[in-house]
């Protein structure tokens, strides 16, 4: 066993998770700011540590746009009373948030967020069956929600949990089937190979636009976001599966949702938008220097953030679906569409070869 | 000791025995069903191990089929249990003995 490998892996994992949390935290801020802009409000705009504004030059900048708002939110979560209602299934009540966040964290393991830095590939685990791993882990995400709904021993969380898990299972199918054309075109299940193929031939979103659309919409459903946020529909279910949670446990669910979003956008970036590559300035080749490697990582993050913005924008633009409409869309529109997509892609590929 | 086929087979067998015990001793229909899944998985493990150590992929193909069949079986079985529960308000094998002589 290579000590080198272990050390670098641990470092990569630590950095990736750190960045993930940071992005998640600022995604919340972004969400609030964008919603404010869309609704013609101001949004968070003044939270900052005391005396910060007295720092020359930087001070006025740091105190604007609510840059420290996530910090305040996190602090608030941690300091609130952790309340456990009576009559809950205690063990599950405690485990559920953890079960919810773990899959969303480990799913990023196979996403290549950069080319190479030195001799290290910028991916935590370069699996041959990367996409299958992703779907396998994503499918485990259901358990957190189901358990949360079950453990709370209360009607609204229970209904939310059931709804959510049914929705996720349903959309996993169309999601999984939507990406098959991508791998048919790219010819490998390894995500790095997919990126390599895109570096050579151009982004896959051009080749398989239908796949992207289905994947995107299924991604909304998988992350329980509007227009498919039925599990936590406030008007019907108070707060969905996390109604009974408070404090840091609630924060974990919150974090899990944003981590899922990040993972989904990461997958999209990788599969459809060329990952860390850009088609010009020689940025589509593995990096020679650390500088270029960092630039490529930044490219990846930028693409991801753009897609996150789409997620947030969609959330504030569209009304919520009804549950039967949601299921109807998933089973009777997307699944057949995905199948047709696979067939057409396969036939075209066969015709070309 | 180097891990070989017999280790995997032993694990497979023990898992199978656990499943069997569950099927025969537990009284909750759902748990019995889960025990059945354990037995199926034990078979899967044995097949994959054979496949690995005999340098043939056919065992894995069989596992693939077993997983498929298990999925079908579980869906039908659970639907049956739900139908049964609606009728009898119980999922307890000792309450479901109307096939007695």
């Amino acid at each position: 066993m290579d000590w080198n490998f272990i050390i670098f892996s641990v470092v990569k994992i630590a950095v990736a998770i750190g960045v993930l949390h940071a992005i998640a935290a600022y995604a919340v801020l972004a969400e609030r700011k964008i919603s404010a802009w869309i609704q013609d409000r101001v949004g968070p705009n003044r939270v900052a540590p005391p005396f910060m504004k007295y720092i020359p030059v930087l001070g006025p900048v740091l105190t604007r746009w609510g840059i420290f708002q996530p910090l305040a939110d996190g602090l608030k979560f941690m300091l609130k009373e952790d309340f456990t209602p009576a009559g809950v299934h205690k063990a599950y009540f405690w485990i559920a948030p953890a079960v919810a966040i773990i899959p969303s964290m480990i799913v990023i393991a196979v996403i290549p967020f950069g080319s190479v830095m030195g001799h290290q590939q910028m991916v935590i685990a370069n699996l041959n069956v990367g996409i299958l791993y992703t779907f396998g882990i994503v499918s485990l995400g259901v358990y957190g929600i189901v358990l949360a709904g079950y453990a709370a021993n209360s009607k609204y969380p229970f209904l939310g949990g059931i709804r959510s898990s049914a929705q996720m299972i349903s959309y996993e199918i169309s999601m999984g089937m939507s990406v098959i054309p991508v791998f048919l075109i790219a010819g490998a299940l390894n995500l790095s190979s997919v990126i390599a193929w895109q570096a050579q031939h151009g982004w896959l979103v051009i080749y398989a636009p239908l796949s992207f659309i289905i994947f995107l919409i299924a991604g909304f459903a998988e992350t329980n976001r509007l227009p498919f946020d039925l599990p936590e529909a406030e008007t019907e279910l108070v707060g969905g599966y996390h109604t009974e949670y408070s404090s840091m446990k609630f924060a974990l669910f919150f974090l899990a949702e944003y981590s899922n979003m990040i993972a989904a956008t990461g997958m999209m970036t990788t599969l459809f938008f060329g990952g860390w590559t850009l088609p010009f300035w020689g940025l589509d080749q593995p990096a020679h220097s650390i500088g270029i490697a960092i630039v490529q990582i930044l490219i990846f993050l930028a693409k991801m953030c753009a897609l996150m913005t789409v997620f947030i924008w969609v959330r504030w633009m569209f009304p919520r679906f009804r549950y039967d409409q949601l299921m109807d869309l998933g089973w009777r529109r997307f699944v057949p569409l995905a199948v047709v997509n696979i067939l057409v892609t396969a036939i075209v590929l066969w015709a070309i070869s | 000791m180097h891990v070989g086929l017999e280790h995997y087979l032993t694990v497979s067998f023990l898992l199978f025995a656990l499943g069997l015990l569950g099927v025969i001793m537990r009284r909750n229909l759902l748990v019995i069903y889960m025990s059945l899944e354990l037995m199926l998985n034990a078979a899967n493990l044995a097949l994959v191990a054979f496949s690995r150590f005999n340098n043939k992929l056919d065992g894995q193909v069989l596992v693939f089929f077993i997983i498929t069949v298990a999925a079908a079986e579980v869906s039908v079985g659970l639907a049956l249990i739900v139908a049964l529960y609606r009728r009898r308000r119980s999922a307890h094998v000792e309450d479901l003995t109307s096939m007695k002589f």
Partner: protein, 170 residues
């Protein structure tokens, strides 16, 4: 070192598998079927680990995807929908206990007998990689007929389940 690390992992996963399997069928702390289901998930995941050790990557993924992602969620659904209360501690029936011991003992005897009698040629270097491509090729060439039959089976199961789930079954 290179050889022992997978071996250690094997023991870890084996113990996890068997331990969680045992907790599926008999949990001293909880008689809630949800617990059984959750331990079944753990068993499945540990077994996926064993599959990876056997280089059956595709099956490991499918195992998690199908079993953990779908089958056991279905179990959980049913448990929750039926609102099964935690099983009351019934006196363990002596007959059931004896029957379980006898059948496991009989199976064990057969297993030991055949394991002892059969030479396992595990000396030859294992080389099979359970990747998606060779498996898919085998599935769609040599095993294409069983594959189609299984798909028909799934369809039949689907129809059956829909029929069974209708409220006015009588």
């Amino acid at each position: 070192m290179a050889n022992t690390f997978p071996d250690i992992l094997f023991y870890v996963f084996a113990v996890l598998t068997l331990g969680c399997g045992a907790l599926v069928i008999a949990n001293p702390f909880s008689r809630n079927p949800v617990t059984s289901a959750m331990f079944l998930v753990l068993t499945i995941i540990s077994m996926a680990g064993l599959f990876v050790l056997l280089h059956a990557f595709f099956l490991a993924a499918v195992q998690i995807l199908v079993y953990a992602g779908a089958v056991i969620v279905l179990f959980l659904f049913v448990i929750m929908l039926l609102d099964l209360k935690a099983e009351t501690m019934r006196r363990i029936k002596i007959y059931g206990f004896i029957a379980g011991i006898v059948s496991v003992g009989a199976i064990l005897a057969i297993f030991m007998k055949s394991l002892g009698a059969t030479p396992l040629n595990s000396d030859s270097a294992p080389a099979v990689e359970g990747n998606t491509e060779p498996l898919g090729k085998l599935l769609f060439t040599h095993y294409v007929v069983p594959f189609e039959v299984v798909s028909v089976l799934l369809l039949v199961a689907m129809v059956g389940v829909i029929l069974l789930s209708k409220k006015n079954l009588d």
